[in-house]
């Protein structure tokens, strides 16, 4: 076998796999620009005859994708930000402040949280939401999203903060900074790389979350993209062009984020799974 051919065999296999990965995306983008099911079914692999951007306007305005999109965006963002800040404060307290015994207990008990799969607590959380009378409000998602991310966030940020040399703090104390001053002015800026990783992981998780969102929220105006999309599919079962438009709206922000921060995302997600 010629060397050139031998060298290209792995590439041929890998490119075939890449095609399998990418094909659904291409198909969805093409379909979203087609006029109707007829055009899709006649030539599913073909480029659209003409770009039918009307689908995008219809989906965004009539089909309420705009509402779902903003609900998802602000829930995912706010709960990721709050989660990162809480986790950072806790990590600072248990790694840098001098209460070793209490800190150890807190750290260990938070770690237990990583061993429990979310599904197991799902029904008990549902009952809790009923008792708190916050079912069908955004609190019912914001609170569990924020809480659910804490164990992993605290773990990762603590590991990072432990590595900061103590001399920095000593100098800061000499200069008269308070504990919270050391946190906001010295430790937090140094921890930014870990904070970014944790923020992205939490943001993605919240943006994609389906189970809680579908059972804790039933009001249409409060739905997030994953659940809104499912309702949308059930309502527009016959209009695939419009459904594909919805998929494009839902996937694009994630892909943009991935395009810029792929290394951080891959590193954070894989670390999260292995440690979990």
């Amino acid at each position: 076998m010629p060397v050139a051919l031998k060298k290209s065999i792995p590439h041929i296999i890998l490119l075939a796999y890449v095609c399998i990965i990418l094909f659904p995306f291409v198909f969805v983008v093409f379909s979203s620009l087609k006029e109707s099911n007829v055009e899709i079914s006649q030539a599913p692999f073909a480029f659209p005859k003409e770009f039918h951007f009307q689908n995008y306007i219809d989906a965004w305005v009539q089909a309420q994708i705009d509402v779902y999109f903003f609900n998802s965006a602000y829930l995912a963002l706010s709960s990721a930000v709050v989660g990162v800040l809480l986790a950072a404060a806790t990590a600072f307290a248990i790694t840098r402040m001098k209460f070793p015994k209490t800190s150890k207990i807190i750290f260990q008990s938070v770690l237990i949280g990583m061993l429990i799969p979310g599904n197991v607590l799902f029904i008990a959380q549902y009952i809790l939401m009923m008792d708190l009378k916050i079912l069908n409000t955004h609190w019912a998602l914001f609170l569990p999203y924020t809480a659910g991310a804490l164990p992993f966030s605290v773990l990762l940020i603590s590991a990072f903060m432990k590595a900061i040399p103590g001399e920095l703090e000593e100098a800061a104390v000499m200069d008269g900074l308070s504990a919270s001053g050391i946190f906001t002015r010295i430790v937090l800026p140094l921890t930014v790389p870990a904070l970014v990783t944790v923020f992205i992981i939490n943001f993605l998780g919240n943006w994609n979350e389906y189970l809680l969102a579908s059972f804790f929220i039933s009001k249409d105006a409060l739905k997030t993209l994953p659940t809104g999309m499912v309702g949308f599919r059930d309502a527009y079962q016959t209009n695939y062009a419009l459904i594909c438009t919805g998929i494009v709206f839902s996937v694009t922000p994630v892909l943009i984020l991935y395009a810029f921060l792929q290394e951080k995302i891959i590193e954070g997600l894989t670390a999260g799974s292995v440690k979990g």
Binding site: L14, T90, V110, A124, G148, M174
Partner: protein, 292 residues
């Protein structure tokens, strides 16, 4: 010096919000689950303690037993079929010189997307009227298959979609381990005349055993947890043929208000996952640490 970082007020302010959220949404549900699992609570009537009845009912419940079986299919498929594919692809990517980053980024991509959106997307691809698979089958003169509407195809359709989403994630995990192996080992074998396939099989694969074992564990855990994709694509249908434990639990508890029974099912699922992963760790998954 010590005084500043020994300020209890700051310490308390920094940890209390976390502890409160954690306690309310992790610890409390954990204990309340155990409590509800022994009651017949349905959200309306008075609650009675019924001992182990929920648990005995669960194992008599034919639908639940079928759903356990479907979880086992998930485990068999993801461990028996996906893992070998994952290893092969990770080896292939680690061996190419060009486009390594491109392959890694692309194969990882599906795992950052929402499972519900992927379910919708693949539901479309499987559609017998407008979906592209029908056209593909037509090339070979085959009739359209009603993938999600026929009991004998629906499970396979879901398994393939699930594989499409997650294979890349595990490829990247294993790839990282392969790339961490010192190059000299591989080069020495190459000088001794081992070809690429021999080096992969006799050198790389034994060296990545620990991470493969982790991937198997994660696959088992993932297969026990699976729920979103089933709810979105088939909601357990047709005729319960794709129902998994978690989807059955959710539907029973929330649609029929059987909270007591639902939490008992949740505890059974948790116990199952624990036993399976422990069994695996003490038998096949036993690996020694490898030092280079």
């Amino acid at each position: 010096m010590k005084h500043t970082l020994k300020n209890p007020a700051v310490y308390i302010v920094f940890i209390v919000p976390t502890i409160a959220l954690y306690g309310l949404f992790f610890l409390y549900p954990m204990f309340s689950s155990v409590f509800y699992a022994f009651t017949d609570w349905n959200g309306l009537d008075q609650t009675h303690f019924i001992g182990m009845q929920n648990f005995t009912n669960a194992f008599k419940d034919a639908s639940f037993r079928d759903s356990i079986l479907n979880n086992m299919y998930f485990i068999l498929f993801s461990v028996g079929i996906q893992v070998p594919i994952i290893i092969v692809f990770a080896l292939l990517i680690s061996n190419v010189k060009r486009l390594k980053g491109f392959y890694k980024t692309t194969v990882f991509m599906p795992s950052i997307l929402s499972t519900s959106v992927i379910g919708i997307l693949w539901g479309f691809i499987y559609d017998p009227d407008v979906g592209p698979i029908t056209d593909f089958l037509a090339l070979f003169g085959l009739e359209p298959i009603y993938w999600l509407a026929e009991p004998r195809w629906a499970m396979l359709a879901i398994l393939l979609t699930n594989a499409w989403q997650w294979i890349g994630f595990y490829i990247v995990l294993i790839l990282a381990a392969i790339l961490a192996i010192p190059r000299e080992i591989d080069e020495a074998a190459a000088i001794d005349g081992a070809n690429a396939v021999q080096r992969a099989w006799y050198l790389t694969v034994p060296l990545i055993k620990p991470i493969v074992s982790v991937v198997v564990m994660l696959s088992i855990a993932g297969a026990m947890r699976v729920v979103d994709i089933v709810l979105v694509m088939t909601n357990g249908g047709p005729a319960g043929s794709t129902e998994v434990m978690a989807s059955y639990m959710v539907n029973r508890a929330i649609k029929y208000g059987e909270y007591g029974y639902g939490t008992a099912l949740a505890i059974i699922i948790f116990a199952f996952a624990l036993v399976l992963t422990a069994l695996y760790q003490f038998t096949l998954g036993k690996t020694e640490r490898i030092e280079y």
